[in-house]
Symmetry: C2
Subunit: 282 residues, 2 copies
Amino acid sequence: MASATENKDKASLARPIGVFDSGLGGLTVFSEIQKALPCENLIYFGDTARVPYGAKSPKIVERYTMEIVNFLEACDVKMIVIACNTSTAIAYKKVKKRIKIPVIGVIDPACAIASEMSETGRIGIIGTKITVQSGAYPERLKAVNPAIKAFQKDCPLFVPLVEEGFTEGEIIDLVAKKYLREFDDKDIDTLILGCTHYPLISDIIARVSGPGVKIINSAEQTAMAVKETLGARGLLNKSKKEGKRRFYLTDASVNFIRIGEKFLKRKMQNIKVVKVWDILLQ
Amino acid sequence: MASATENKDKASLARPIGVFDSGLGGLTVFSEIQKALPCENLIYFGDTARVPYGAKSPKIVERYTMEIVNFLEACDVKMIVIACNTSTAIAYKKVKKRIKIPVIGVIDPACAIASEMSETGRIGIIGTKITVQSGAYPERLKAVNPAIKAFQKDCPLFVPLVEEGFTEGEIIDLVAKKYLREFDDKDIDTLILGCTHYPLISDIIARVSGPGVKIINSAEQTAMAVKETLGARGLLNKSKKEGKRRFYLTDASVNFIRIGEKFLKRKMQNIKVVKVWDILLQ
């Protein structure tokens, strides 16, 4: 009997962690989880048929998010990581309420580390239109430390620029200068990259922001939160073998593989195209 | 009896024309149809929940297109105008085969006028990634005149730049120069704007291309084709009153109204958000 329970436990702990994003930006988070927890089985889900989320309505982003959560639950994941700032900003609370397994978003980990790193408490946040409009970052920063002053700027062109490979050169430089001018008179000492695409241009953002501004990328911090949460709940995989990785997309996007391999710095295998919009509708 | 038939005919001719696009670019076409046929009832459909199409796969674009066609058929339209180059490039033939009412795409009208305007037969085409990859423009140009030499360049950043209002200034200039450099050694005398967003930056494209290059915007030409086809089939509305306009979107996008009114140069009313993805699935 003991051994049967043990086997059951083992199987249960071997269940994958589900990580999702509207497209490929979440691979920056996925990659850090892979580094922090090499023996965990991982599923990455990219909603490539409906990407991007950042300029759509909160209602539709919530709907898409819940469809993906349903899909990942059907994959029997042991934890869900919302590796998309827009989805986290709009639907994190709702997802947390809906499901019983642990859920980690990218906003809380970013706010925790930003609050720790900032000396002046004047923190900038850049993200998509609806992430900024949601006010989720200022709200969470204030929850961590009510004395924090948060300043936001939406940067809608950064995502298409990254997706199209404009990660260096005059054009991205000009766009970054135009957007970050917003902070010129705000005297921030810390800037949160509130979109999972932005780490790919963090050197440009850092240069334009100047040496006095620390750049916060939530990917690493999110991976740490995943590790801690799994550890605290006794959910870490006991296996010593390298975990399996599966990728689900809603569209067979060529961009995804081309840029995804750049994100992950390795070949991508086990890619499958799935539908999710009929799960809720049935 | 005669008057009943007449009334029935009248009702049938008053059926709307359905115009659709992935987002708001097709409003450039819609606007020209409005001008050319002020008494026609018009429906505009924008798939704002899944925009943009240009970097997605042909398979998903075909699926989305057929879903919209089904929706418009359910609205009892008398004609469908595919006011999206990507959808036209990928699915025009399939739509034409599937439905009995007339269908007009944006590619044939553009090719007809480009072929007429070009003196050297050396024609450039700019469009989204999958419009270019589909080869639809070179194929149609060759069908019009086998002697034409077609040169293509995909310009994926133009759509987000227009959507974000970067329609003038240094950034759009630099991007245009980068993309249009492709034609430097091609000696084209005509350039087709193979995306319904591009008319909004046609002055920049014209300036960068130089005075020797004629710019072809298919919107006006498509509206002419709509008028001719309706006329030839006896389908023109007999009413002398200004037609009704309805707008269907799949997402309540704020961008759509803000930029849409810029496209149409007038207030937008009768906007409704609908679902289309369950029509095919049921």
